[in-house]
Amino acid sequence: MSSRTGGLTRVYHILYIDISDVLRPPGLDVLVVLLAMLGAILVSIQPVTSPIIASRIALDPTLVATALFLAIRSSAGLATLIQSGILNLYLTYPIHRVTVAVVLLVSRVVIPSALILATPLVTILILLGSTLYRGLDVILGMYLAFLFQAVLYGSIFLLVAVRVKSQATSGILSVAVYFTYIALHLILTGIGGAIGSDVVRRVGEAMYLPDIAYYAYSNLDYEVWQLTLVPGLSILVILAYLTYMSRRFEVL
């Protein structure tokens, strides 16, 4: 009936099946329409000519929506996958469990984040393309900074989901982790400024990569290591997630 196929073919088809679940309506489709409208409204209220400002106006609120989407659809969704036994089904395929974990990271974090964050930018570029097209590289840079930030949130949420394995708990914990992270970022930045500690302030700032990217493109004061904190944290969390999936994860 069948013949042996390559690992990449298997990965593609699992990715297709899982992404169909992540993107199934209603969810991302509604969010995309709302964010496209938000982008249009924002640039209509405050027409800007700077690609840096335009990116921030569009992407700051979008990142909040992305984080909440990831907490609900990705983290709680992955926990549902575990509870329902579908993840067990994926693991019965002749594919290494690390590969399945990578597929889930791509389908549940990277692709939705990339799509959601791109939506208002596309609207803005359509509406203000004539003034912004010279700054496409800056817009792309800002987009990547926001994407890295979203991937950090998403990978933490996936780690939460595979650890707690409960839909409600992982959704609630993910939202709590997100707001704790934002609070920590604001507190460290504020405290650092208040007590005059440059290191604490810079660590606080570096926890939000779009701020540092904004400083970099605006020629404001920043240090290069600040650009590496969020990607570095993301890599650490992803490694922890992959290690847990390959060595410890099991569905009872």
Binding site: S2, S3, T5, T9, H13, I14, I17, G85, T92, Y93
Partner: protein, 299 residues
């Protein structure tokens, strides 16, 4: 003969509970092995450990000669039907099966074949959640067949099904074993279902294998007579005083025939009938799960 699955002295603990306690078993090509045991015996844990879905604490598992927890190639040609089947719901069953078929190098022809084989025709465009319990099980079977399996592990494949669907699923297992040569490991706690299809039985209790052998050795060696009568208390007393192991279930008296023999039992029943006990029905049935568990030294 090379074993498709070889489990050797496997232990698995959940906290302080030993779910598997030194379990060893082999499954050979062409067999239908029934894994019997009450709920909590460790059947599902054993299946998950055997497939590499769960870590073992000690012992070894070889599936197709490879450790399935480490090497995913061990699962090539191996399919699973879980107790509560659940397939992704975002695609129609046919689309989903197509992607699974592509994973194994197949295509729409394979999908059509397994849909027909599993009896899913007319329902393939529905999503999984729109199917009835029986059709969900059939979809899970169709899904399992797409891997071109040599070996299918079915964890309580008939639970949640009505009697008609149960029979159909068991017939399908028997047909796939007979016609396609597929090896099965079927877990259940319902003896008549497992004995209907199994060539060999393995009985588990509290994380241990307590008995194994052919159905005739295990189930029918010590048959039980189920006697429906007008005065169960009186009949039970008569049989007990003659040395039979007896227990009463409602209007039925259950007698272990092996201890005294058929002839003696029939003579006693004749006497009881003369003494005014009206005998309505006599069935000779195999051992129950409780009897198998209490006679756990059969191996």
């Amino acid at each position: 003969m090379e074993a498709l699955l070889r489990v050797s002295n496997v232990t698995k603990k959940f906290g302080l509970v030993r779910a598997l306690n030194g379990v060893s078993l082999d499954v050979f090509e062409g067999e239908v092995v029934g894994l019997l045991g009450p709920n909590g015996a460790g059947k599902t844990t054993l299946i998950k450990v055997s497939l590499g879905l769960m870590r073992r604490d000690s012992g070894s598992v070889l599936l197709n000669g490879l450790d399935p927890y480490v090497d995913p190639e061990a699962r090539v040609g191996v399919s699973v039907i879980f107790e509560r089947p659940f397939l992704p719901d975002s695609l129609s069953v046919k689309d989903l099966l197509f992607h699974v078929a592509r994973m194994y190098g197949g295509g729409f022809d394979d999908v059509r074949k397994v849909i027909k084989l599993a009896g899913l025709e007319g329902h393939e465009w529905k999503t999984f959640s729109a199917l009835s319990a029986g059709l969900k099980q059939r979809a899970a079977i169709a899904h399992a067949l797409l891997a071109n399996p040599r070996f299918i592990v079915a964890d309580e494949p008939t639970s949640n099904l009505d009697p008609v669907e149960r029979l159909r699923v068991l017939e399908l297992i028997a047909r796939l074993n007979r016609d396609e040569g597929i090896t099965f490991l079927v877990s259940s706690h319902v003896i008549p279902e497992v004995t209907r299809v199994s060539s060999r039985l393995i009985v588990m209790s509290r994380g241990r294998v307590i008995a194994s052998g052919s159905p005739s050795d295990l189930i029918y060696k010590n048959p039980v007579a189920r006697i429906r009568c007008s005065d169960p208390e009186k009949l039970a007393h008569m049989l007990k005083t003659s040395g039979f192991n007896v227990r009463i279930e409602g209007y039925n008296v259950l007698v272990e025939v092996g201890k005294g023999g058929y002839e003696v039992l029939l003579e006693l029943l004749t006497t009881a009938s003369r003494d005014g006990v009206f005998l309505m029905n006599i069935d000779f049935i195999g051992a129950t799960l409780e009897e198998l568990l209490s006679a756990g030294d059969v191996t």
